[in-house]
Amino acid sequence: MSEIFGIPTQALFGQLLIGLINGSFYALLSLGLAVIFGLLNIINFAHGAQYMMGAFCAWFLLTRLGLNYWWALLLSPVIVGSTGIVIERLMLSRLYKLDHLYGLLLTFGLALIIQGLFRNEFGSTGLPYAIPKSLEGAQNLGFMFLPTYRAWVVVFSLAVCFGTWYLIEKTKLGSYLRAGTENPQLVQAFGINVPRMVTLTYGFGVGLAALAGVMAAPIYSVNPLMGEHLIIVVFAVVVIGGMGSIMGSILTGFMLGLVEGLTKVFYPEASNTVIFIIMAIVLMIKPAGLFGTQR
């Protein structure tokens, strides 16, 4: 069996693939957080719970309505994103004139309530969600076996991330969002309905979390605590990339997934902490994050 740096290629590329998949989820989730923070100035601590809701929504659609994975991929972001719109209208909209801390506390409280409700109803052992038939199996690449579903997750995440980047950086709607991030009062004085834009942006960010949840369901199973474990790492990714930076979130998400995967190969003991070590170093050298600007 061939080796690289004394590590079997099968094991090395296997861990890199796992890193890339984790990176896909980090990128999708941190992208949603960046979009929300950029316009709303809210640190959405409920993001992990909303990711979990996306996975549960897919499970409900399958088990209660018989709607398969592809339907879930379409409907879950819309359904969970709609709950985000309700949260923004009823609760978050009352906090914009207050300190960031209030938004963080509210969304943290919401996360605890949502996770508590799901755990009370479904326990914490996890519910199975099968890989869709068309994405079952694996491809033999010669140096490793590539599971088709995992390849799909990476490719689709990349497409969604760069689609979102294009929307924000290259379209008229995106220019409204970017300008609204800088000076919402002036954008409103140009005739743009900023409150509605804010509401839809929060719904969109939550929808991205739900989309990640649907994609995660066949890999990690559906569990009320699946978001809680992930969200702390995702916050570290956002801090490293730069709060509110769209491209920073995407690149840092994938990059840190790979770093985590490589650490598992070369020094497994540090694999759970490497991202936080990088975060500490970045904060010392560049407090605004690798791609962020001081606000």
Partner: protein
């Protein structure tokens, strides 16, 4: 919408920033096609008056009628859709947008706005620098951009706040030419200015503000006879 007559009527307008009461019953009228100045020292309430017309202050009361529509209870994005364009004191150029993105940002609020080509003809520097980041432009170019972007929207009532502040005399002269061109095209303009020498030859009427209310008003024809009073109010 009235074809002639009043474009803007402000009556007993009070405004607050938090607990701070900044306007104490402002009354003014701007007729279609006029250039009207709001003169006064810093802190007299001129910028607050413009922001209150647009609904950009924390709280306001009284009456603001734009094109015959009472707007005191409307949010600012609905008010400007009645045909207002606002050029803020700090210019409000967005750093995350290119010059052209800044120019194209405000949506059209009415038909009949200038085309991008017309705007580039009026402000040739902007065409040359359209791909540059908005905040990389010089102060004068940023001011041109701030003016240009509201001309695209079809707004016929322009609220211009301290557009000459901090600019070189040659740029101020260029802006004066632009204001004259806009007046010839029938735009209605409210000009908040400290630079009296810039504003005086352009305006049809003047309002002088002090302590958050209108202290004096007079026409351009009365200007000569009011100079002593103006020196007292403005220190010019």
């Amino acid at each position: 919408m009235p074809e002639n007559g009043e474009m803007l009527r402000v009556a007993d307008l009070h405004a607050w920033y938090g607990e701070s009461h900044v306007l104490h019953g402002v009354n003014l009228v701007v007729n279609r096609g006029e250039v009207v100045t709001l003169l006064g020292r810093n802190g007299a309430g001129r910028t607050s008056t413009l922001k209150s017309v647009l609904g950009m202050v924390g709280r306001r009361s009284g009456s603001v009628v734009v094109n015959g529509v009472e707007v005191i209870a409307l949010p600012s994005y609905q008010i400007v859709r009645l045909g207002l364009g606002y050029c803020p004191e700090e210019r409000g150029i967005f750093a995350s947008l290119s010059t052209e993105e800044n120019l194209l940002l405000p949506p059209q609020v009415q038909g009949g706005g200038m085309s991008v080509d017309e705007i580039y003809q009026m402000f040739p520097n902007l065409k040359e620098r359209r791909a540059s980041q908005g905040t990389r432009l010089s102060g004068g170019e940023q001011q041109m951009l701030a003016m240009a972007r509201i001309l695209r929207t079809g707004a016929r009532l322009l609220l211009l706040d301290e557009i000459t502040e901090g600019l070189a005399p040659v740029i101020v002269q260029a802006l004066a030419r632009v204001i004259r061109q806009l007046k010839e095209r029938g735009f209605t303009i409210v000009l908040v200015e400290q630079n009296f020498r810039f504003a005086a030859p352009l305006a049809d009427r003047h309002y002088v503000m002090e302590h958050g209310r209108i202290a004096q008003s007079f026409t351009a024809a009365e200007l000569e006879s009011k100079m002593d009073m103006l020196r007292d109010y403005l220190g010019v």
